[in-house]
């Protein structure tokens, strides 16, 4: 049906840099709205996207609430807490593999692990990319503009491999990751504590899977991190596992069945203990309630017992806090303010432990689930230039070193150095005519290579053959503002740049990431194609219905026979192509029907106007 379109322009079409909190349990996306950070709701109105991904039996990817539901029905095809697997090798997760409902695909010990979901296998960055793509989609729908750039938050204590894996996930999801920001630092940005006064702030960030503590000095809009510490494998998940084990043992002795052998039931039980845990933050006592196969299990859980159970976990967070204070050369009394971040800080025992340690009443004004995403949006504003009075100076959480003789570590950049940070080291050959030098880079605080985390192996190639010890290669190690290592090498005699081949430990090679990007673009193109067809059909529906309706209008009968015949011909042609997959063809037929009905539309409009005028007293 011919219509008159009004173009409202595209005021919303400016490009946005979004801030993303890619969490262990939940993920959120936020943006800066006229200087104020705001979280972006999904289609269901909820800004929280559970960090769960599930592959349906038809191969469809489910993310968020839908995937969370699938955890109960198709546990072996579903994955949660993928963040705990980022930048890890298969040996790293041996301890908890049994607790997850999905299986790991066999892989080499030094390679990135892969998970099996249905018939497909995925690396953790690919799984994270599904979550990121959902957030990207939510943002694009909400902002009505394409979103291609993002700031993504990571635990401050994430090592190089974990950071690289997060950046890879962004690339696979079609996002240019402009900056990785440490979660506690992002939280301090969201609180805008710099507006109040200069001072020392401690951020205690206890989330679903990771624990971080950062000590910051605020001065005139500068957020200078003095020290950071943490544990990337300590969070609410550990509390859930504790409660789950107890419930499984109860059920074993009460029902005499091994529920652990039924992954779907285990996931429903896990949900039940998590709900009980949440209730205990407000109530002194609650029940864990669970029914299965017509039987029901109920266990009373008092906060007193809960506190006793989780005390060892809460105490594990205090060591890093003391370490961070010592590294910042501060005493607890010198901390002016404490900020709580992460869902696990809702637990009363956690709050009181923080209060006792830092002797300060913690800030809890902002929702601990949203504060990190809000801070990421502020950092996005700093990068876009929208925010020019704030600046983050963050640190590297772990010392960087290289392997020397006897398996010892020579430290090049110490932990808590402000980033970007660099160090230069000279290397030479040990054998006549040697043309390459192998360099092994590690991260960690210990003296021996075997006690540190292998980060990468570099092969310095193309050294001119010379007597041993004559070549002099200068290697520059640079940790960038994302906390990621960059290496460049130069021959001091010739001044020539050397190629540095990186083989990241537990990581994906550039080629692998490129392959995944291509695959996801293909998928995205397929999705895009489908959407185009769907939209064309919707438009066809509208015009077909309007034309059928117009046939009842006196104006239709007033048309010439030839005009009516043309309309019917075009109508039939559109109906013929309606079910084709060619959206361009459908659109062409829509246009033709549109043209054929133009006179009819004008006549109907004129009739309507004159009728309306007749009914109006002037």
């Amino acid at each position: 049906m011919g219509t008159f379109q009004i173009d409202f322009g595209h005021e919303g079409q400016q490009s946005h840099i979004v801030g993303i909190d890619l969490g262990t349990t939940n993920s959120l996306v936020a943006y800066l709205d006229a200087g104020v950070p705001k979280v972006i709701p999904g289609a269901d109105g909820d800004p929280i996207v559970p960090s769960v991904v599930s592959v349906s039996p038809l191969g469809q990817i489910l993310v968020g609430h839908a995937a969370q539901h699938a955890l109960g029905t198709h546990p072996e095809r579903s994955i949660y807490s993928v963040k705990r697997l980022m930048g890890k090798g298969i040996d790293d997760v041996a301890g908890e593999a049994k607790l997850f409902p999905f299986r790991f695909a066999p892989s080499e010990a030094s390679e990135a692990l892969r998970v099996e979901l249905g018939t497909q296998t995925f690396s953790p960055p690919e799984v994270s990319a599904f979550i990121l793509r959902q957030l990207k989609h939510n943002a694009e729908q909400f902002l009505d503009a394409p979103v291609t750039q993002a700031v993504i938050t990571v635990p401050a204590y994430f090592n190089d491999a974990q950071r690289q894996a997060t950046k890879d996930a962004g690339r696979i999801a079609g996002l240019e990751v402009l900056r990785l920001v440490n979660e506690p630092t992002a939280a301090s940005l969201a609180y805008g504590l710099d507006k109040r006064n200069d001072g020392i702030v401690a951020v205690y960030d206890f989330g679903g899977g990771t624990f971080d503590v950062s000590i910051l000095k605020l001065h005139d809009g500068i957020f200078e991190v003095l020290a950071t510490s943490g544990d990337t494998h300590l969070g609410g998940d550990d509390i859930d596992h504790l409660l789950l084990r107890i419930a499984l043992e109860d059920i074993q002795s009460e029902w005499n069945i091994d529920l652990a052998a039924q992954p779907g039931a285990v996931q429903l039980l896990r949900r039940a203990v998590i709900e009980a845990k949440h209730r205990l933050s407000a109530l002194p006592v609650t029940d864990i309630e669970f029914s299965h196969d017509g039987r029901s299990y109920r266990r009373e859980l008092t906060r007193e017992l809960f506190d006793k159970l989780i005390t060892p976990i809460v105490e594990r967070t205090l060591g890093p806090c003391r370490q961070a204070l010592a590294d910042a050369k501060l005493t607890p009394a010198e901390i002016d303010e404490v900020v709580l971040v992460g869902g696990s800080t809702r637990i009363p025992l956690v709050r009181s432990a923080v209060e006792v340690l830092f002797r300060a009443r913690p800030h809890t004004e902002l929702d601990p689930d949203k504060v990190v995403a809000l801070g990421a949006a502020v950092q996005a504003g700093i990068l876009s230039g929208a925010v020019d009075d704030k600046l983050l100076l963050d640190v590297t959480p772990l010392s960087l070193g290289i392997e020397t003789m006897g398996g010892l570590v020579s430290k090049l950049i110490h932990r808590n150095s402000t980033i970007p940070a660099s160090a230069t080291e000279s290397f030479t050959t040990g054998v006549d005519g040697q043309t390459n030098v192998l360099i092994h880079v590690v991260q960690g605080e210990r003296e021996m290579v075997k006690d540190c985390r292998s980060l990468a192996r570099f092969d310095l190639k193309g050294i001119p053959p010379l007597p041993a010890g004559m070549a002099r290669i200068e290697v520059r190690f640079l940790i960038d503002a994302n906390g990621i290592l960059n290496v460049t090498a130069r021959d001091q005699r010739t001044g020539l740049e050397h190629s540095v081949e990186v083989k990241p430990s537990y990581g994906l090679t550039d080629d692998q990431v490129e392959g995944m990007i291509l695959e996801s673009i293909e998928k995205a193109e397929q999705d895009f194609q489908e959407r185009q067809v769907r939209e064309a059909r919707l438009e066809a529906d509208t015009i077909l219905a309007a034309t059928e309706k117009a046939k009842d209008n006196p104006a239709y009968d007033a048309l010439e026979d030839a005009e009516r015949a043309l309309i019917n011909q075009r109508l039939n042609e559109l109906l013929v192509v309606y079910h084709s997959e060619d959206h361009l063809l459908i659109r062409r037929k829509i246009e033709e029907l549109n043209a054929a009905t133009m006179t009819l539309a004008e006549n109907m409009m004129n009739t309507a106007v004159s009728t309306a005028l007749k009914g109006t007293k002037i």
Partner: protein, 177 residues
């Protein structure tokens, strides 16, 4: 990748006694100007420049704000680097004491260790005072003779620091029992 002069980064002449609050203030100012966050939307070349500038700034601030690493840097700058073995050669006047300390460490006598710790603490204070005076002398009239004295004191300081670290470890181990 030409070596960066840390003093030049801050626009100050090579000196040993530095006003820390002024250094910190300049560090913040330069961070605001050079930080990669300020260049996120610029060309790759400008972004690389911002990264290099800020890395140099951070490296320089880390070295210059600590008096000992600052002095070591200035010595190296003048071709007087403290060798990797620095702090391992026993200053002659401390030889006897070092032997005594090693005996006390073997016996793990906590009262003896406490006495040593106190004594070394006082020695370090004296050294730091003397270093402060040398720093001021050098800044007033720079010369290699003063730097050689500085190097000698730094060696001595390092040696005593190592001893106190040893005592600290022994105490920790003792407390763990």
């Amino acid at each position: 990748m030409s070596p960066v002069d840390y003093f030049e980064v801050f626009g100050i002449r090579p000196s040993l006694a530095i006003d820390l609050s002024a250094l910190q203030k300049r560090f913040y100012e330069l961070s605001r100007q050079w930080h990669p966050d300020r260049f996120a939307a610029r060309s790759p070349e400008e972004r690389q420049q911002a990264l290099d500038n800020t890395a140099a700034l951070n490296d320089a601030f880390r070295v210059l704000r600590d008096p000992v690493s600052r002095a070591e840097y200035l010595l190296a700058h003048n071709g007087l680097a403290i060798a990797g073995q620095g702090g391992k050669d026993v200053p002659p006047d401390l030889l006897e004491e070092a032997l005594e300390l090693n005996m006390a460490l073997e016996e793990a006598d906590s009262s003896d260790l406490g006495r040593f710790q106190k004594q070394y603490g006082e020695m370090l204070e004296t050294i730091d005072r003397d270093l402060g005076a040398l720093f001021a002398d050098y800044d007033a009239t720079p010369g290699e003779a003063i730097l050689l004295n500085v190097r000698q004191l730094l060696n001595r300081r390092k040696y005593i620091s190592n001893l106190t670290a040893k005592i600290g470890k022994a105490f920790e181990a003792g407390l763990a029992h």
